[in-house]
């Protein structure tokens, strides 16, 4: 048990930002909007989280700021793609480039400063339980939020009327519109939710994972989150499996390397991607079900006048 605990803690840290960002994108895509700007929203969330924490000395203010920053980026995306009906793929890519540049500018004064780490929430009595308490019940608030989010998103999508509306808008926006639902309003909310989650994921990087600000610190995690959503076939529970599998394999391959297992490091680095794709493809091998899960209107613009 002694060796397992720290490994599990490392895995949770590695998986949480992926889970947060991907869960937001899942809702966005379920409503029929493809936002490829996750990386850009994440990095702006990271820089805002770090800078507000540095200025106020309160990491919780940083968490809120990162969420807000992600939402601002998402709002811009929503305005361009939903109101002006620009191409979603191109706009998403532009959002990523914008985010990377903007964050570099905003964060210039904060480079080379160690940050304040988001504290672990200590639950008296429970956090001392060997193993269960030290691993599961001694985490920071964002880890709990990310796990609660899985349950909440699952419940929302499949057990509530509002979730049904989101899915309807994503599957057939014309019918949803004809039924009297506001497609734009639903999509705006979904896009904003996605932005908040991506921003939060960025905040997790600069406040928990590595409490510092350096340019480009997301290092492609937004793209991994995007891929996870597709390979999880837009199902929240599979997304949980995918994010943790990815985190686990990337941490375990480091352990394998350190233990001197003689496999090429390039292969080891590719392993998290391979393992996650293989497992999720096997889970989702029933093509009929997968197709039923794919939002049919994903990426298609909607104009209420038509």
């Amino acid at each position: 048990m002694g060796a397992l605990e720290p490994i599990l803690l490392t895995i949770i840290t590695a998986s949480t930002p992926l889970l947060l960002a991907a869960m937001g994108e899942l809702i966005t895509e379920r409503s029929g909007v493809l936002n490829l700007g996750v990386e850009g929203m994440m990095i702006v969330g990271a820089v805002m989280g770090f800078s507000i924490t540095a200025m106020t000395g309160n990491p919780y203010m940083g968490v809120i700021a990162s969420m807000f920053a992600g939402m601002m980026m998402a709002l811009l995306f929503g305005f361009l793609t939903l109101n002006l009906m620009t191409n979603q793929v191109a706009t998403g890519l532009a959002l990523t480039i914008l985010g990377l540049g903007l964050s570099g500018m905003l964060g210039e004064g904060f480079i080379g400063q160690p940050g304040i780490k988001l504290p672990v929430l200590h639950i008296p009595g429970l956090s001392e339980i060997p193993f269960l308490g030290t691993v599961l019940l001694s985490q920071d608030i964002l880890v709990y939020i990310s796990l609660a989010l899985v349950a909440a998103v699952y419940y929302f999508l499949f057990k509530t009327r509002a979730g049904l509306v989101v899915r309807a808008v994503g599957d057939n926006h014309s019918s949803a519109h004809a039924l009297g639902y506001s497609v734009l309003k639903v999509r705006y909310l979904a896009v904003l939710f996605g932005g908040a989650c991506s921003g939060l994921a960025g905040g997790y990087l600069s406040l928990v994972y590595t409490p510092q600000w350096v340019e480009g610190m997301t290092a492609g995690r937004g793209w991994i989150a995007l891929a996870l959503v597709v390979f999880a076939s837009w199902r929240p529970l599979r997304l949980l499996v995918g994010a943790y599998l990815f985190g686990a394999v990337s941490v375990l391959q480091f352990h394998a390397q350190a233990a001197g297992i003689g496999l090429p490091s390039q292969f080891m680095s590719a392993l998290p991607y391979l393992a996650t794709i293989v497992v999720l493809v096997i889970i989702s091998r029933n093509l009929v079900v997968t197709r039923a899960n794919t939002p049919a209107c994903l990426g298609r613009p909607f104009s209420p006048d038509r």
Binding site: A3, P6, I7, T10, T13, A14, P17, G104, E108, I111, G112, Q113, P114, L205, Y209, T210, P211, Q212, V214, E215, G216, M217, A219, G220, R221, S250, V251, F254, H255, Q257, A258, A259, G260, G262, P264, S265, Q266, M268, S269
Partner: protein, 357 residues
């Protein structure tokens, strides 16, 4: 009048009549091209510190310009050319990826002098320079082996290229000079710069029982983990003591200022030549940050070796040195050649892991 002479100088340059240095009262224009932002707190930051030192040293006798965040390839060519075209007489092009672009521009501007860092291609008007960073890694190996209680260090590498492997080997030789059975665990993160992965690698190493962490990647994340877990670590490129106040033993520093000042002086004196400089601790190009968080015994060992390097008569890769598979790399008493160092693609004896190729 000043303006007029500037116009004349520009006209003279445009006509290819010669360098502006003939106008004695005009400052010498020196350009710098950086691969990262000057705020990266690492590699490009160190080059920019040297540029500032140049300005301080020469005062109004020089005028410096820098272009930051330049990727390799066509962008680098444009950046170097812009400097060459705008009357800069000396251009420092500071990243390996700028090698071919700089060479191309050097051929088009025979009257401008170019200096390229870490490359191996030269021309009549293009010199190269690099630091023997492995010398500092050797000292770190001695510090690690003297200070370590578990007898094992962890080394986070970016990519298995000669520059990184050379540092690992030098570290191992340094450690073995203190403790012949010293172990080094290696993790490749396949990235120069990914704070999250670097942190994960550092955690994995500490979980496997190392009590010293080395890194050849660019973010201070491994130092933060070392601080959190209470193990010793070494900074990279800049003194990052703020990230690990009670854990950083020292840091590898690149100090380009003495070299830049020398070379600019050479241009002013008209003695500049397209040389190939590979400076070590003795030249001041490679330095170690002040030793902290280690015992006096460890300090003494390190300072003795640093003094040997400073005297310029010590080469860590001196035989007998064996490759990992047991074959002889250097016979007894034989010193390594620069070619052997530049192409180093194997581990020395003592590493457990095999080197990916």
């Amino acid at each position: 009048m000043r303006k007029l002479s500037k116009i004349l100088a520009t006209a003279a340059l445009a006509l290819g009549l010669g360098a502006g240095s003939s106008f004695a009262d005009e400052p010498l224009k020196v350009g710098f091209v950086y691969v990262g932002p000057v705020s990266d707190h690492g590699y490009s930051y160190q080059h920019d510190l040297a540029r500032k030192a140049v300005e301080k040293h020469f005062g109004d006798k020089v005028e410096t310009t820098f272009i930051e965040n330049v990727p390799g390839g066509a962008d680098a060519e444009r950046a170097v050319e812009r400097l060459a075209r705008s009357g800069h007489e000396l251009v420092f092009s500071t990243s390996f990826g700028f090698m071919n672009p700089t060479l191309k521009v050097a051929k088009r501007f025979p009257n401008v002098k170019f200096e390229h860092a870490t490359g191996f291609k030269r021309a009549k008007n293009m010199a190269t320079y690099n630091g023997r960073f492995y010398e500092a890694r050797y000292v770190m190996g001695q510090i690690a082996a003297t200070a370590s209680e578990t007898g094992t260090a962890g080394y986070i590498g970016a990519f298995p290229i000669p520059e990184v492997v050379r540092g690992m080997n030098a570290f191992m030789l340094g450690a073995q000079s203190v403790d012949p059975d010293f172990k080094v665990k290696v993790i490749w993160v396949n990235s120069w710069y990914d704070p999250g992965r670097e942190a994960d690698a550092a955690k994995a190493l500490v979980d496997q029982g190392v009590d010293v962490i080395l890194q050849h990647t660019d973010s201070p994340a491994p130092l933060q983990i070392a601080q959190e877990r209470g193990v010793l670590a070494f900074g990279q490129a800049s003194d990052n003591i703020e990230f690990a106040p009670t854990s950083q033993a020292s840091a590898l520093l690149n100090d380009w200022a003495p070299y830049y000042i020398d070379r600019i002086q050479a241009v002013m004196d008209g003695t500049w030549e397209a040389t190939d400089t590979w400076g070590g601790i003795d030249s001041g190009m490679v330095k170690l940050a002040p030793l902290r968080n280690v015992s006096d015994e460890v300090k003494a060992v390190a300072e003795e070796t640093i003094a040997k390097f400073e005297s310029g008569e010590f080469e860590p890769f001196t035989g007998p040195v064996y490759k990992q598979d047991g074959t002889v790399f250097l016979e007894d008493g034989v010193e390594v050649t620069d070619e052997q160092l530049l192409g180093m693609n194997f581990f020395v004896k003592g590493f457990d892991a095999s080197l990916p190729n």
